[in-house]
Symmetry: D3
């Protein structure tokens, strides 16, 4: 059984002018693009299959990244669910002058492994080796359950009449 560490994908990027908004901060969408590629490569490394993005479950941007910064992305498979995988991606900003790293964004994505006809295929389970990996493994299940609950809740809301007293402000 392959380990979580075996799925580690490390990506380093230098922030160029076109990656930034007029205030000189990294565009969220550019970081999202890199997060998706790092996650897809991590999912492919574990599964040995082409993996496609099924959903982005959460990306939090903790603090801005600036023009000229070095950014490091680390992607790991958190858990396998039959044909899908939850991938966690941590983003660090590296200050080259003081040689320090700071955690600046976190992401969770779900990928599906597919065959050459685009049909989902089974993925081998993953082996956690540390407490940290085990915690992420359990959290993946909680995130999935809450996501399904939220979806159901939203659908039931849509089936009911709107509250008449709601006012937009």
């Amino acid at each position: 059984m392959k380990t979580v560490q075996n799925s580690l994908t490390t990506m380093t990027q230098m922030i160029l002018p076109n990656d930034t908004n007029p205030l000189g901060n990294l565009l969220g969408g550019k970081l999202m693009h890199w997060i998706d590629i790092a996650a897809a490569l991590s999912a492919r490394k574990h599964s040995g299959k082409v993996c496609v993005t099924a959903s982005v479950d959460e990306i939090s941007f903790i603090e801005p990244i600036k023009l000229g910064d070095t950014v490091i992305l680390q992607a790991l498979v958190n858990r396998v669910f039959t044909t899908s995988l939850e991938i966690g991606v941590k983003v660090f900003r590296e200050d080259p002058i003081n040689d320090t790293r700071k955690h600046t964004a976190s992401a969770y994505l779900t990928f599906v492994a597919i065959d050459n006809y685009g049909r989902p295929v089974k993925v081998a389970p993953i082996k956690t080796e540390t407490e940290e990996e085990q915690r992420r493994y359990e959290e993946a299940e909680v995130r999935r359950r809450r996501r399904l609950e939220t979806r159901e809740h939203m659908e039931s809301m849509r089936a009911q009449p709107l509250k008449s007293d709601s006012t937009s402000s």
Copy 2:
């Protein structure tokens, strides 16, 4: 008070080879990049400020988009929360032969309006005009509440010892 419709941002993209994976499907990360730009422009149009991505709350990829397809993104402000805005983005795939549109992805993102020093600034509220807009307005609050709950739940999990009986498989 500006209306929801005033924030509508429509973006059309043609899928080129570099936007696709080896099976000829649009890369999730590329679509995420376009979703973020459409959402940022919608947030800016409503607020009249530079808006930065605070979090991606959910992106669901419903069905694959192929090389050569036309993709249309529609972004709208769903609700304003003091200095932040929830933006909803719908993605359609257009079949030019039969001239039909199909809903292929949905996204919810939170942006923060900032001043020239990067500090959050207040955003004017938005006016809903239809039942559909009012429903999205109310759902935005539910999504936000559930997101905060999930975050708290995760943090309390991290504060507890791991369940000893959990097995990774």
Copy 3:
């Protein structure tokens, strides 16, 4: 018969650093690239065929577009000529602070619909519904006639000896 409105293609772009010259103005060539894609998608939507650029008949840049601006392109089929289509593209610059739009460029292009072997194929005629659309429909014929006249005029000039009294300055 499909209408002119059915061919409407709306594209929104944010001006990034790499799209500009050293004075911070949008490069003409970048805008030309977007104009061509919007026009090609409009031609494809009407004809249901792959359409290739046959000629750019006129692009006027009315006023500069700056870094950070939002640009909106609107492409429409003006008229069908057997296997070719004239597409008109209007470009607007949007000021997000005052929420106003300004017309900043206009373009007319001719596309040819082709089959899988690259041979021209017939395109169905288009139905105008408003006075404005009818005017553009008639102008398309005038532009085409004058273009052919200019080409003939140029060819006859090339067949004659140069005027001896011409001086370059």
Copy 4:
């Protein structure tokens, strides 16, 4: 006085997958982008100023360019009109197997030389040295005159009521 030859700008490009449509032909818009850059550099070389695109007066795509082809662009200043310059660009497709060149597109663009505040500035006249250059010099004036005539003609059409007998088909 600088010569026409002094303004010669030669650009060579290799056609990559992202430059092509689903049939493997070079996208018109990509070629337009390269034409604009070659023309801008030619205008700048003659004038010693930043030059911005004022209008694209004509681009004719004579035959398709394919994935993997080598494309060569040659830009020259045809004539100077006080603060503006007409640039002619010829595009060749090079067949590396038989080592032959074929003329595949032609373009005429008008640039305006500007100062650091974006105001038009006078450009020194250009010296033609060959019959060919003299012909292009004279044609530039004809093209400009006809363009102005067409514009006036269009404006007078717009001032009149639509012909009642016109039928769109």
Copy 5:
């Protein structure tokens, strides 16, 4: 004193269509671009300064890299020479199906650390910790000496008359 390992920069790239030639192999120039960025970031991490490429001393492409492959670059500072640094970059191709890595290219580059005015500045020496690092440290000096010798040899050749008996074939 910072260690060699502290300068390690790991970059992962997925090969997309636009990165390849018509046979589907990664373009050498694209890989060169990534090698340069990885090396620049490694040099900056060690020196804490902006570092610019002074020379590419050798890049060997051992075997082709194909569309869809995962490529991993690892850059390390081999040695510091007052204001310059030799960086070594190893490139691996990863086969996701069999989860194996293969060494496919090697590069040596020299960077110069500069201040805000573009003037060279002194760089702190580096500490080797393993036999492998010590070997690379010594090789860097040999490569530098031979490079200077070759340059001198070439210059002396240029100062002499051409051998009359040489025939090109």
Copy 6:
């Protein structure tokens, strides 16, 4: 027999924001990318075959190139060695105000001509016509010999135990 001049490939590039580092200087890796494409086209023009980069033998960056500069690359085949070709590329920076050119970088690369199965194929020899071309032709052989010597020297170093007295500093 084809001449050296027949292989001349001229490429002109305008330096855009994304091509530069935070000090506004052209990134080495971007220039390397352009050098590789110009060299590959020159090799293909001479050989009539697809040519892939085998090695970069030397690139020297003589002085910085700045944002907004015009850069001109000239690639020529220096010599043919059975299935491989040495290409020399000279890079010039053009100052549009004073209309002067300055030599800012030099590169030597080795390409291999391949057939459709990726196997090396023989390339016809090249004909030098000037003293300068003849000198470059002879230097190519010297560079190749010294390169092979350096490689052997390095391999023999690796076969020996490390000098115990070496100290890294």
